[in-house]
């Protein structure tokens, strides 16, 4: 059995007095599309951001392809910070797509996608732009390469953001509510790109309210509520009746978002 892409062990995260994550244990196998669903405040985005080390966990460990990210922790709970450069190397295996796209406004689409290739992989501008262009073709936006983010629609911006993350050839892609900021008619173009990515075998962890996507593309659904994993399994098991009562409650509010197809 190969190493899990991401292994989360006993992850606890507190913000001041509030505990958001109460000891999460989770494994993401290689090549799996894993969806984190749950009500607002359940901690799913926090969990994802901990996996990316954008939030520092209070205790517990996160391992990416066997290497511990952020902090090592002994059995006695002694935590030691990993060096910034080591962290950067581990993080290089992860690509992240944000709810707010986070494209850099002073660079064109091509500039956004090629920036890391130039700065991190030290490619020449020509080489970087060639590779970046290939990524833009992949998400269907080669005609917009010279446009600035302010000139792109939300769906286009998000697709550029995906291309930017993919340009660095990550082994794992994290998606933090990628379509939540989009008008309904624009979500489709982004979900299609994600569908194609999944079909190519990319390991993906997706936090999303798009239950339909989770049910059809997801290979494992993890339902989070109040900072704990309530249920985790393949879509057929998670969505079949009789359901976990909390999950039932949660799905009731999402029936018109595509979960009805599962009934």
């Amino acid at each position: 059995m190969s190493l899990p892409a991401i292994a989360v062990r006993n992850l606890v995260k507190t913000f001041g007095d509030t505990t958001v994550l109460h000891g999460i244990d989770l494994e993401i196998p290689q090549g799996q599309v894993s969806c984190l669903i749950g009500p607002s405040g359940s901690g799913k985005s926090t969990l994802l951001r901990c996996m990316a080390f954008l939030e520092e966990a209070t205790s517990g460990t996160i391992s990416v392809n066997g290497e511990v990210l952020g902090f090592t922790e002994t059995a006695q709970g002694v935590r030691e910070r990993i060096s910034a450069s080591a962290n950067r190397a581990i993080r290089a295996q992860i690509g992240m797509v944000f709810q707010q796209f986070n494209l850099w406004p002073h660079m064109t689409a091509l500039g956004n996608v090629s920036e890391a290739l130039k700065m991190v992989q030290k490619m020449s501008r020509k080489q970087a732009e060639e590779l970046a262009m290939a990524q833009l073709v992949k998400v269907g936006l080669e005609s917009r390469a010279g446009h600035y983010p302010s000139q792109l629609s939300g769906g286009q911006q998000q697709r550029v953001a995906i291309a930017r993350a993919l340009a660095m050839k990550p082994k794992i892609m994290l998606f933090d509510e990628p379509t939540s900021s989009l008008d309904p008619e624009l979500t489709g173009e982004v979900l299609n790109v994600m569908r194609d990515l999944a079909a190519e075998g990319m390991t993906m962890v997706v936090v999303s309210h798009e239950i339909g996507f989770a049910a059809t593309v997801g290979q494992n659904i993890t339902f989070l509520d109040h900072g704990k994993v309530q249920f985790s399994g393949p879509p057929q098991e998670v969505f079949k009746k009789p359901r976990n009562p909390r999950l039932e409650q949660f799905l009731d509010t999402y029936l018109d978002r595509g979960a009805s197809m599962l009934l």
């Binding site: 290089a92 986070n102 850099w104 002073h106 064109t108 700065m119 991190v120 302010s150």
Partner: protein
């Protein structure tokens, strides 16, 4: 009011513009240094910068000019009054511009930094390629505003003996007994200069990609 008088006012306004431009440029350089000190987070740099900014924003420009004009000879530096004037204005605008820059840096959306981290940029690269360019764009309107404020504030260097627009207006008003016309004309010249600066600022802002509208 005769054309000759207006000509004299215009000539004096060249001093106004020159002193202002020089002060703004020197002030901006100092402001960048101050911002660097503030961002460094090490107390030995942050504290002096904070004190500097607090002092030069808290004390009226007129008092600053008088202080420098009288202080420099007292410590043995006998400089021409125009140097004292520019020094005073530069230090004052540096404090305000540093404050503006600080605001600009604070307004850079965190997400833009996070996405840079995720794609592998080092902190130094993030600062150079993402944070600083965006902060400058966010600060730009405030900097244009500050330029206009400096142009108006330059009227105060008349007290340290520089014959710029306001001083010329004072002299002419005194000798021609036509204060209403002279000061109104001077006011008009200031208005036109400020209007041009605002216009230029707006044009530059529109041509810069990535300035939030």
């Amino acid at each position: 009011m005769s054309l000759k008088l207006f000509e004299l006012l215009l000539q004096a306004s060249i001093y106004t513009v020159t002193i202002s431009v020089v002060s703004i440029l020197i002030g901006f350089s100092i402001a960048i240094m101050l911002s660097g000190m503030l961002l460094s987070k090490t107390p030995i740099f942050v504290l002096p910068a904070q004190i500097f900014i607090s002092f030069f924003r808290g004390v009226p420009l007129l008092v600053q000019l008088l202080l420098i004009y009288n202080l420099l000879p007292a410590i043995g530096l006998n400089v021409p009054s125009i140097v004292a004037a520019i020094a005073g204005m530069s230090l004052c605008t540096a404090a305000y511009q540093a404050e503006n820059l600080r605001g600009g840096f604070a307004s850079v959306p965190v997400g833009l930094i996070e996405s840079a981290e995720m794609v592998g940029l080092t902190p130094d690269q993030i600062f150079r390629r993402i944070k600083a360019p965006i902060a400058l764009r966010l600060t730009f309107p405030a900097l244009v505003n500050e330029a206009i404020l400096i142009l108006k504030a330059s009227s105060l260097v008349s007290v340290v003996g520089i014959i710029e627009l306001t001083r010329m207006a004072q002299d002419l008003a005194g000798s021609t007994f036509l204060p209403l016309q002279i000061f109104a004309a001077a006011g008009l010249i200031y208005l036109v200069i400020n209007w041009i600066v605002a216009l230029a600022g707006g044009l530059i802002e529109r041509s810069l990609p990535g300035v939030p509208r």
